[in-house]
Symmetry: C2
Subunit: 431 residues, 2 copies
């Protein structure tokens, strides 16, 4: 009998989704995989969840330790989130030789080295598909489908809230605060949206994803981050005139010198498949030496899609448990130790918007500073001065330039008396 | 030592790609997976391939049987193609208790029941990721990532040649024959393009994909098929006016009555992510109960992408061999036996183009026949008569209608003396 028992910690949104999936599709999973999965115990600090979800008395507990110490449980599914209680429980589960499935991106991004070390020491498996891109099987793809490939670049739309807000702004011409309000009303943004709109959530995800894609443990705190909260509707409009849509991209890029990992608003050509990823959807584009460019698209959050990823991990780990093969620590070992590059070395095309007084000579003055900093201009649009405004917008697209040079040039330009001290830069996705 | 030896049958395009991948990335695979893969023997009837690829003498043979009988070989990779020699070799490999990896879509689509039966009888594994969507990991996704999901619908752009031709026609306004010529010149179409442009290749792929998605062995010959060879550039243009792009879609759809599987040119809304799949690229969209809508996009053919899929299968099967777990026949068993529906029952929206004499009353006559056949019109465009032409085009979009009704109505309309007997219908992708 291929029987595996699981315990769940945390019956919030995702936990409820997993419970629902088991209720509806447990027989299907048995027929597909030949694995008889059973939820042996679920823990939640809120006893009301038991009634709401119809969880039998003998399965429910308020004490997570009961799940960890349950002798029949093979796999512990951690769905509490956060980096305090969840961290302790995962460590304890590994020490009890329970295998682990988790959706906890913050924990793996911030404490990955510790978690993977303990997992390997105790020879247990850990599944974390649900931590990146919700239900999109991107971790599985990176590790298994691309096993024969050298990954060169990962480009992700990994935060549904940000993508929803940008889509709303673009489609309706409304500003950031209005779009955020709609997102909150529709449940696509939290009451406290900071982690999403600051780029923090996308940073967690790209840290995990790139660690496995490049087999190098990426340092989360060194990943450059800039969120959608600074995006002005005007720039979305001007960028459209150049044929670009504005997206929050999480990018990890292997160069000759190391890996550059970053999260920031980015202009994407209208022709790029990522431009068609709208509203709360997520997508990850991967460039690798043999497969070439491939893309994986779907629901990046929500009870049902996340439950789909959790259950896929449970089945995969069950196969490995039942396979009784030798423990393979390589799954959680980062055999390359590539240097992580400073964002200041980032090289790409830039979109600039300067607000300038409409006086002769200002364009040549700005162009001069750019030239001195090795930034060459590809095209310029000078907008008509709107009646009531003091400044006119001067928009430029550059050829490839280096972030450090751009920062220096912008600081210089912002010091001119003819320029409003609020010049905007948005990086452009290039090949 | 986790060592696995493989033998390759056929060193054509894909075989060369696999050889190249091993040469470049074998150490990488070892570091990622802890599996030491070795190519023990390769067979090709053309001895010149040995020199071209730099294959050592002791590894090369012209006799495939030598590969099958090699005592150290665990996995045989069949890359010969076709349904004659390849079929015999695969059967013989299974009987010799060799595991199998193949890219052979024709064989699995036409002889799936036989192949899977022999595989299960001999308790060997068979990997066939490379048979559908080239390097896109769609088989793995359907079986593993979606293990907890009930699949409802699969929509695939599965033939790169057809998609290239349609993209070329759409972008440049050229006709089918011109576009085919370009495709052939650039190597995106074979000298004999029949299998691609007739829809036959896409039919092979959707047969395999839907068999595993719905756990029901689909009968290849009952899958409806219509290729891009009948597409008129005029209809691509008119469809664009309605906001649609023309794609060759392979669709498998689960209804209350059974599974409908079909391949035909289809109008896709410009907003649909499938509309952004251009040139020779492939993509598969999957709708399932928990993950919702997800899409997988990439290179559907070519030496390198296909090699990527072959090697991923080799590593997966190696894991199972090394895992020494009980043989799981469920991987190749179709536990549901859902009925396969007749295409005549297909229900969708339609695009019609009638060429009519510009006489009063003809529109009402056509509308009358449509109404009698339960077809209601959503919108109509009557084009201006071009000077030199006898007929004017009358274009209609319908609401949902049934294929059998449409066939009956079109036959009736084509019998009118005011109508040129060449009315065009294109089905529309609806939810």
């Amino acid at each position: 009998m291929r029987k595996i028992e699981i315990g769940i910690l945390g019956m919030g949104t995702v936990g409820s989704g997993v419970w629902d999936l088991f209720r509806k599709n447990r027989d299907l999973i048995w027929n597909k995989s030949g694995i008889d999965l059973k939820i042996a115990k679920v823990a939640d600090k809120d006893p009301k969840r038991k009634g709401v979800l119809g969880i039998p008395d003998d399965i429910f507990t308020e004490d997570p330790i009961e799940v960890l110490e349950h002798p029949d449980i093979d796999i512990v599914v951690e769905l509490i989130g956060g980096t305090t209680v969840a961290r302790e429980l995962i460590i304890r589960a590994a020490e009890k030789h329970k295998h682990i499935v988790t959706a906890n991106k913050a924990l793996l991004a911030r404490h990955g080295p510790e978690v993977f070390k303990i997992v390997v020491e105790n020879e247990v498996e850990i599944g974390f598909e649900a931590s990146v891109g919700g239900g999109i099987p991107i971790i599985k793809t990176i590790r298994e489908a691309l096993v024969g490939n050298r990954v060169k670049k990962i480009i992700g739309i990994l935060n549904g809230t940000s993508n929803f807000i940008l889509t709303k702004m673009t489609r309706e011409g409304i500003d950031f605060n209005q779009a955020l309000e709609v997102a909150q009303r529709l449940g696509f943004a939290e009451a406290d949206p900071y982690l999403d709109i600051s780029g923090g959530d996308a940073r967690h995800k790209i840290t995990i994803l790139s660690s496995f894609a490049f087999n190098t443990m990426i340092d989360h705190d060194s990943v450059y981050m800039e969120g959608v909260d600074g995006i002005d509707i005007k720039d979305i409009g001007y960028a459209e005139e150049f044929g670009f849509v504005t997206k929050l991209l999480a990018v990890a890029h292997l160069t000759d010198h190391g890996i550059l990992v970053k999260v920031h608003p980015t202009l994407v050509s209208r022709e790029n498949p990522l431009a068609a990823v709208l509203w709360e959807d997520n997508a990850v584009m991967v460039e690798s030496d043999f497969l070439g460019t491939s893309m994986y698209y779907g629901k990046g959050a929500g009870a049902k899609p996340t439950a789909s990823a959790v259950v896929a991990d449970v089945v995969d780990i069950s196969e490995r448990i039942l396979g009784k093969s030798e423990y393979n620590s390589k799954r959680y070992t980062f055999f390359r130790d590539l240097p992580q590059l400073e964002f200041e070395t980032n090289r790409t095309r830039y979109y600039f918007r300067f607000n300038v007084l409409d006086r002769p000579g200002i364009l040549s003055k700005i162009a001069g500073v750019l030239g001195q900093n090795n930034i060459s201009i590809a095209s310029v649009i000078q907008k008509e001065k709107e009646e009531e405004l003091k400044y006119v917008p001067l928009i430029m697209m550059t050829h490839d330039a280096v972030e450090a040079d751009v920062k220096r040039a912008i600081a210089k330009i912002d010091s001119f008396p003819e320029v409003e001290k609020s010049s905007k830069i948005i990086r452009v996705l290039t090949d």
